[in-house]
Each structure stands twice: as structure tokens, then as C-alpha cells.
């Protein structure tokens, strides 16, 4: 089943073409890693696809009415805002808003989804603490749990693992992989190419607003392409069946 279709999506930010005519589809069961250097258009592509930025071309999500879109896709922005000292549980429960009838109390299904998401991101022990009192990485995990609690068919996340310790980076990627394995799909922008290679079923590489590569990780992450797009020389190997990638030095 196709969960997202983009046709010739273009996003302008001021005078700059942030995304130039991107066409792609995300199918159920995929964990798509969006990779590319800073300013390549990863965030703009996802925000344009969600209708959060005015965009040219077509996006199946942006075409939906706001409420339906919120049930079709969850969005984890890069900026980790928590405006008020609400408890972590309250914060995570915000993910249930699109599924709840306005004014009605949470159902058992809502509470279970919140508990599952908190357990998944290892924040259940903070449930009753004000979210603003947690450390940066803990807040990030609580916010990922919020997006997971939404239980949308498609989850889009902007640099979800930034600022997490290695164990929780793995936990986050495992959570997204579990979404894909369970018949949903996720798309995440990533700067850690090792994690991207290890967990994603497919990578889309952007450079200056265009898709320059799209396919399985080993096909996308070649030494030549990393040199061309990122300007880095990399160590690429296979270890116990998994792709290992380590940038070593800058080219040129």
C-alpha cells in the first residue's frame, strides 16, 4: 500500500529553491532514511510533503484535510519544543489528539498507546515528572514517544536521533524499524550514515534540493557518492552482514 506519493514536489524558501521537483513514493513496510548534507532540503521536503510549507507539485498528504492528515501521518519536527512544564505522560498523550473526539476523555486504547510509546522510548519512569525538567536527550525521547503514540500509518521524523546516547539512538531506530515491520512506514532524516545503513530498508539521498540516489543502503552509500555529495572519504565495510560506514577525512 502506498502511504505517501510526491509528484514533482518543489519548495521555495525565500529566494532559494530548497526542494526541486522531487518525485517519490513510500510504501507500507518501508523505513526510508533521508540523507544528504546540511541544507540539502531534507526538512523542507518533509514539511512540504506534510503541507506545513507551501509547495509546488503534488503531495498525497498535503492534499488531505488537516484532521485526516493527522491520522495519516505523524510528524516529529527538528526543534524540540516543550512550552509548558506538563508531565511526560501528558506530553506523550498529545499524540492521541487526532484520534480523540474533542472534549471526550482518553479511552483505554489511548492509554495503552501512550504506555506502549513511553515504554518503547524508555521514558515510562519519568511519566509523572514535568517534561521541562528532563535532560535534552530525555526530552527528545519523550517527544519521539509522542510521535509514536500517534500510531499513524506513516511517521515522518526530522533528525530523531540527534542528541541521543548510542543505546537510545539504537532504541529509536528499532522503534521505527518495528513500525515498518508492523505494516506501517517511517521516513527519517539522518546524519549518522552508519545508523541509516544498518536500519533503513531504503535510502533517499538529497543534494541541493534534488534526489541524487534512491535505493537500498549499499547501493546508495558508495565511496564515490559520499565523496561527491558530502565531500568526505569514507571507510565502508561489511561486518556480520551489516554495512559499516565511517567518514574518515574531508576530500579535496
Amino acid at each position: 500500500m502506498t502511504l505517501l506519493t510526491l509528484r514533482a514536489l518543489s519548495v521555495r524558501l525565500g529566494a532559494r529553491d530548497a526542494v526541486r521537483s522531487v518525485t517519490l513514493r513510500v510504501e507500507a513496510g518501508e523505513l526510508v532514511g533521508l540523507v544528504g548534507p546540511n541544507g540539502a532540503g531534507k526538512s523542507s521536503l518533509m514539511r512540504g510533503a506534510l503541507g506545513l510549507l507551501p509547495a509546488g507539485g503534488e503531495s498525497s498528504l498535503a492534499a488531505l484535510p488537516a484532521r485526516e492528515r493527522a491520522r495519516a501521518a505523524a510528524w516529529l519536527p527538528q526543534s524540540r519544543e516543550i512550552a509548558w512544564p506538563v508531565t511526560v505522560e501528558t506530553l506523550v498523550a498529545l499524540g492521541r489528539l487526532p484520534r480523540r473526539i474533542p472534549g471526550a476523555p482518553m479511552t483505554d486504547a489511548d492509554r495503552e498507546a501512550v504506555a506502549r510509546a513511553m515504554a518503547r522510548m524508555d521514558v515510562a519512569r519519568f511519566a509523572d515528572r514535568p517534561a521541562t525538567e528532563l535532560s535534552g536527550g530525555e526530552q527528545a525521547r519523550a517527544l519521539i514517544a509522542r510521535a509514536l503514540a500517534q500510531e499513524a500509518p506513516l511517521t515522518l521524523a526530522d533528525e530523531p536521533v540527534a542528541g541521543l546516547d548510542p543505546a537510545h539512538q539504537l532504541a529509536c531506530m528499532e522503534a521505527f524499524a518495528a513500525l515498518a515491520a508492523g505494516g506501517a512506514a517511517a521516513m527519517a532524516s539522518l546524519h549518522d550514515l552508519g545508523l541509516a545503513a544498518r536500519f533503513c530498508t531504503r535510502l533517499v539521498m538529497l543534494d541541493r534540493g534534488r534526489v541524487v540516489a534512491d535505493g537500498p543502503p549499499e547501493a546508495v552509500l558508495t565511496a564515490a557518492r559520499l565523496r561527491e555529495v558530502y565531500g568526505v572519504e569514507s571507510f565502508i565495510a561489511r561486518e556480520a552482514g551489516a554495512l559499516v560506514i565511517q567518514p574518515l577525512s574531508r576530500s579535496r
Partner: protein, 331 residues
Amino acid sequence: MRLPYPWLLAALGLLVAALFCASLLIGPAGLGLADGLAALLAGRGEAETLVMREIRAPRAVLGLMIGATLGLSGAALQGYLRNPLAEPGLLGVTGAASLGAVAAIYTGLSLLIPLALPLMALGGAALAALMLLGLAGARGGALTLILAGVALSALCGALTALALNLSPNPFAATEIMFWMMGSLADRSWLHVQLAAPFMLAGWAALAVAGRGLDALTLGEDAAASLGVRLDRLRLALVLGTAASVGAATAVAGGVGFVGLVAPHLLRRAVGARPARLLPAAALGGAALLLAADIAVRLVAPERDLKLGVLTALVGAPFFLRLVLSTRRGLA
């Protein structure tokens, strides 16, 4: 341990009810409890009935409604702007309504037509709402709205100062000054009838914002992705504030600090959830304003101490204390 939310609302409701009754029983006529109630409910005694039904009752009702308006709109604005320092005056509606009233006094219209002052104040608030929506249009974010409000407030403040500067005689100047201090003295049912529809409509617009304000805890992008229509939320907020705060200013003048302090006082008690803060802050604002209006009558019965002066006098030091406790919380 925190009070469960329904109990908190019930306790606040009781407090408001008690203060409302106290407001009915305090005044220069010096009626006893039994006389006062007999006059109010059964119409016993001609002078007493007049005092209770035509002077004290509208004053207490206005105190209740204006306090609730200030608390509710303060909580809604703080939630929308995600800033605990926001208050109803920030949008420039208070300034614009004041300017309308000042214009009525300045031109002498308020002497010719009895309701010219509140009507022109309402007109000022309506103009302010149109300008805000024009400036911070459909795609403007929270920051645009604040900037538009600040610009509008500054402009209205300057024009009000100009009216004072050029006022035709010292009496008009004095009247403008006293009006701007804010008061509930000598208001009639006419004022209630004029203000109530706007306040109720404003409350209705602000009350539906709760869900969107909750989602905004995560920022504008995340809230939009949760299905919140930010353009509609902003429209409800601007129109709701303009109608309710505009009407409050039109009948009572500027009453500061209630809209700032009421949400602050109750935020912790509702677990900082913006939607839950709305009704709590409305009740809290009503309690604060009724208490302040009782205080002005008790502290200086002969001197006509203005309500806005008292709320600022008590509110500012109180706010300083909040600042200090916030600093300790951060350290």
C-alpha cells in the same frame, strides 16, 4: 499533592460565589446582611431595593464577568504565544478600546449621548481586531501577532497622550485620567446589557481554543501536524479577545495585572495544561477582580480609590514575588 481538577474548579467556583455575595453586601449604604438580602430578593424597602438591585448587583455582575474575561483571555494568549508574560493588553485591544473611550470624552460626545463612551470603546476594539488580522494575516505566526499588537498599543498610547495633551479643558483631562484608571463604581444594568453579549461571544470563541492550545505545547509545526488549524485558532483568539476584553474595557476602563496573574497563580494547580488552565483562570480572574473591587470599597470608602490602581498596586509586587520564585526554580 495536587487537588484533582474537578475539585479545583469546584473550590474556585465556591470562592467566586462567596466573593460575589460579599461584593453585594459591601457599600456606603451600610445595609445589614438580612436587610440587604431581603431587599435584593424580595424587594423589601424602597431605598434598600434600589441600592441592592440597581447599584450593587450590576457592579458585582460586572466584576464577575470582567474578571473572568481577563483571566480567560490571559490564559488563552499565554497558551497561544507560549509565553507566561503575555496578558490581554498585549494585543492592543485594551489600548484601542481606551482610545475610543478617550475620544468620546475628548469630543464631549460622552456628555451628549449616555452610552457614547462604551460604544466608541467597543468600536475601538473592533478596529483593533481588524488591524490585527490585517497585519498578522492568515499565514503570520505568533511572533507577527505580538509585533502587530505592540505596534497597535504604542500607536493607541500615543494618540491617547495626544488627546490629553490637547484636551480642551482641565476637566476633560481629569476625566480621561480617572477613566483610564479603571473602575466599577456607578455602573448600571445598561452597562451589563451592553457588555454581556460581547463577553459571552468572546468566551465562546476562546473556550473552543483549548485543544489547539494543548497541541501548541509542542510548537506550531507539531501542532499543525496534529490537525490543529492554526489560522482558525488565531482568528478565534483575536476575535475572542477583542470582543470580551474590548467590552470589559468599554465598561470598566483599563484593569491591569488580573489577566497576567490569574493564569500564573493557577498554572501549577492544573499541571500546566493550557486547555485546563482556561476555565480555572477565568474563575481565578473573577475571584481576583471581585476581591479587588471589595478592597477598593473597604480600604478608602470616601476617596473613590480606582480599581485599576489597586490591581496594579497589589499585582506588581505579587508579580515580583513570582519572578523571584521562578528564578529559584531555575537555579
